[in-house]
Symmetry: C2
Subunit: 330 residues, 2 copies
């Protein structure tokens, strides 16, 4: 569990495309984000600028590295500020390829002050083997035709809409940005294969009968590298409801030429077949599309056609919200 | 790569059921097994008894721990003999839960002499992400309705029969006993989930057009804990041919009450659907059953019926060999 409030660290990154984590946190977890810390003329999230001393005085608990520099490493120029934070008792969290816990000066600073280093790409060491036991409470899992088709966005939007309606739900993160947004979660693709579905089971434990876990999906059953991860996540999640995520105009797995995405009805049948191993009642409740390649009126018309074809509500969560999806389960 | 010849270490284990690894090695890799080493009245593999000094003199390279004591640990009483082996320059290999590399006295002995410790449950640290690229050569994968239904046995029997026919084949091990038999391989269920299919791809690299990789399957698509592993292994293996493995009289996943095994035609369709993502020509060439619960004549008759039902050769490899399967691909 990563303690809020957060101080979002932006380094000297001026290109917003490297600051997706920071923008994601600001947009999806504003209640966790108190301020920003920039080294020079970096991107501006519109949050108050605070140094370490002020942050501590205001009760901030964790410095979250909100930028991913090219290469995924941690620039040496950032170390003095992070050491200052740790020595002042602030935790530091990051989802970089480079692990904070493997940088000697950060580790020793944290040990001295008792502050914690969170590497959110690193799974907890002990997960159980999957049990297949049906759990109480209800679960929705976003699933995709491919990676990076909006599974996290759709899950966050559905969770937010349920909360807006006063319903009982929890967002369950399975990737690094999602984990920073939620404050906890499981980096499912970093789990040892034998424990995949066990880790997914543990992520959404028994809950109240009317509680919904809204689980961030990963990968795709049609991805030649990651379908094993997807399968384990589907089995452990035991979804009652699934939302298919796709992108308009996409017909092939990204960076896997020749791996064509099947017709959506076939994609959905495959997910239902897999999901029903652990939950006989698994079904699709709708689909979420990224339609950014279409003009907005064309997008609306195209979603209407898709909805007729699939017999389910279809939306672009970013443009048109997720009310039509939420009505299927609320 | 584990160097042969092996000295099979049996400790003081008198119950043959704890010595399955040793018997498997003796039966399937007799050319790698030179002798046995027992502490007192342990099980007898029928191999010559040798102490460390004699073993070194005869050119033995590796002590292989062939017994799995209850609990999977390594009894302290074995340590002096293993230290003696390491100090004499012999490598030590094991597939126990306890890692040799985490036992200080073994590690320091190995460092002093330059001998190696092989923990065959531990995967190599670096596997690539799966590429989905079609490789040259041909591949057969054994797949199952469940764990422990004869996938390793069937693969070894098919490999041996191909070699007996003078054909070009390699057994590819994916579990600890298979790895000790083959001398190398990949403990696929211990790989980090993101690299599952990449590790499976690396296990059977490009090869001659007429070469067959005979790959040991793992888990089952219908297992609520392990189907993710199975999926990644199928995708990375890109099998041209699959052999279904099952056990007569089994109707539920072992230790997962309520998880019924579907009709075999349904099981086969599911495997073909998954396999065709990475190899459009994937097909079943037969099925291998453990019929030990039937009298031999009943088994023969039952296999005949299964064969008619499935339209494929069906055999019990242990009782009736695998010639009917091999004829489908040779």
């Amino acid at each position: 569990m990563i303690n809020a409030p957060y101080l979002l660290f932006l380094g000297d990154t001026s290109d917003p495309s490297y600051a997706k984590t920071a923008f994601g946190l600001r947009d999806w977890a504003p209640e966790r984000c108190a301020a920003q810390l920039r080294l020079g003329p970096a991107v501006d999230l519109g949050l108050p600028d605070r140094n370490i001393e002020d942050a501590v005085a205001e009760g901030i608990r964790t410095v979250v590295i909100g930028v991913a520099p090219p290469g995924g490493g941690l620039p040496d120029a950032w170390l003095p500020m992070l050491v200052e934070a740790l020595e002042a008792g602030l935790d530091v969290a990051a989802g970089l390829h480079t692990r904070l816990n493997e940088i000697g000066i950060l580790k020793s600073s944290a040990e001295r002050s008792g502050a914690r280093l969170h590497d959110v790409r690193v799974p907890a060491s002990d997960y159980p083997v999957g049990s297949g036991r049906k759990r109480s409470g209800k679960r929705l899992l976003t699933v995709g035709t491919d990676c990076a088709v909006g599974k996290k966005y759709a899950a966050l939007a559905i969770h937010k809409a349920l909360q807006g309606d006063g319903l009982n739900s929890t967002f369950r993160a399975t990737g690094q940005t999602g984990i920073l947004i939620a404050g906890d979660g499981t980096p499912i693709d970093a789990v040892v294969a034998d424990f995949l579905s066990g880790a997914a089971e543990q992520l959404s434990p028994d809950n109240d009968p009317d509680h919904w876990d809204i689980i961030e999906g990963q990968g795709s059953l049609f991805h030649p590298a990651y379908a094993g991860v997807t399968t384990g996540l589907v089995h452990g999640s035991q979804p009652d409801a699934m939302v298919l995520c796709d992108e308009f105009g996409k017909d092939e797995i990204y960076e896997y030429p020749g791996y064509r995405i099947p017709p959506l009805s076939e994609v959905m049948n495959a997910y239902v077949d897999v999901a029903r191993l652990t939950n006989k009642h698994a079904r699709f409740v709708g689909a979420a599309f990224n339609t950014s390649k279409l003009q907005i009126d064309d997008a609306r018309a195209w979603l209407g056609e898709k909805s007729d074809q699939l017999g389910l509500p279809c939306t672009d969560p970013y443009r048109f919200g997720v009310e039509t999806l939420v009505r299927q389960i609320a």
